[in-house]
Amino acid sequence: MVALIRFLLLALVSVHAATAQDRRAAEVQIKAAFLYKFGDFVQWPPAAFARPDSPFVIGVLGAEDVAAALDGLVADRTLQGRPIAVRRLRRGDGPAGLHVLFIGQAESARMAETLALARGHPLLIVTESENALAAGSMINFVPEENRVRFDVALAAAEREQLKISARLLSVARRVITL
């Protein structure tokens, strides 16, 4: 009897873990797709690209699952006529050559350092942490009713000469203009 109860509890825990894993996997896919699609709705200053055929580079810090999902997503695709590259970053790496920087939850504790390194570069910073916009992020993913939505800090993007399309703002959950 005890063995049966133990088995049932184990099965219940396994099912719960599997569901949570599935949910995270779906969330990762959505976030990776959004990171790639943001490029359609943001305009970078010409100086952000060294050459007319320079790739569009998405840097990922502290979120290997998102980087892996991006690898599969951007293969053979272009953005604004440019090839897309995904670069995995380590803590302390500089932002040179990047156009989008995604800082995963695992790096949220050290976000201030990363944001300080990125300051002054035309770099779209995307995060998935609470209060990230206040810290200087430009787009922050937020979960809402089993969906992934995002908030936008417009002023932070404008400070780095990034122009975010009104069409992107229209689907944001919240737009902070100050």
Binding site: G81, R167, L168, V171
Partner: protein, 176 residues
């Protein structure tokens, strides 16, 4: 002698009036056909353009899976009385947002490729929403198609003109 001359005069008049009448009716028929063709083409273009506009305005909504903006865009169609119903399907063919006037709230289960066709008294249009790389979704639109009403209207005018012409001829040829 005078009667014979009057009779010939009437016959000539009848021939002139009938010839004029046939010419006028032929001209009216040609104009009607031209107008109906123009109506058909311009209405299809108009609805397709409307679908394209709604689609482009809803591209971000589809990209970021937020049906609210798409719903708002479709809601603007209430200012286009000729549009009976419209829907946006996502890239997987699922209904994403809908708009329908009263009694017109049925939508196809799956979207089709780009195209327009007449179904009875409605015009059905499908328009894909794409960006430079991929299909984001499809706009479906069902609109009034008033070709038959226009034709009936023209037939009414045609009948009035013909009746007036017959009346004129009858007056002219009847013995005084």
């Amino acid at each position: 002698m005078a009667n014979a001359r009057r009779s010939i005069g009437r016959r000539i008049l009848v021939v002139k009036v009938v010839t004029t009448l046939v010419t006028v009716l032929l001209a009216i028929t040609a104009m009607v056909m031209y107008d109906l063709r123009l109506y058909h083409q311009s209405w299809i273009t108009d609805v397709q353009t409307q679908a394209e506009l709604i689609g482009q305005a809803s591209a971000s909504s589809l990209s970021f899976d937020d049906p609210h903006v798409a719903q708002e865009n479709l809601g603007l169609l209430r200012y286009r009385p000729g549009i009976l119903a419209a829907a946006i399907y996502d890239a997987r063919g699922r209904l994403f947002a809908t708009f329908a006037r009263e009694g017109a709230g049925q939508f196809p289960k799956l979207p089709e490729g780009d195209g327009a066709r007449v179904e009875g008294r409605t015009l059905v249009v499908f328009k894909r929403i794409t960006n430079e790389r991929e299909i984001l979704g499809t706009v479906y639109m069902r609109a009034e198609y008033a070709l038959y009403e226009r034709l009936l209207g023209y037939l009414g005018y045609w009948y009035v003109v013909a009746a007036l012409a017959v009346a004129v001829v009858a007056t002219q040829v009847s013995p005084s």
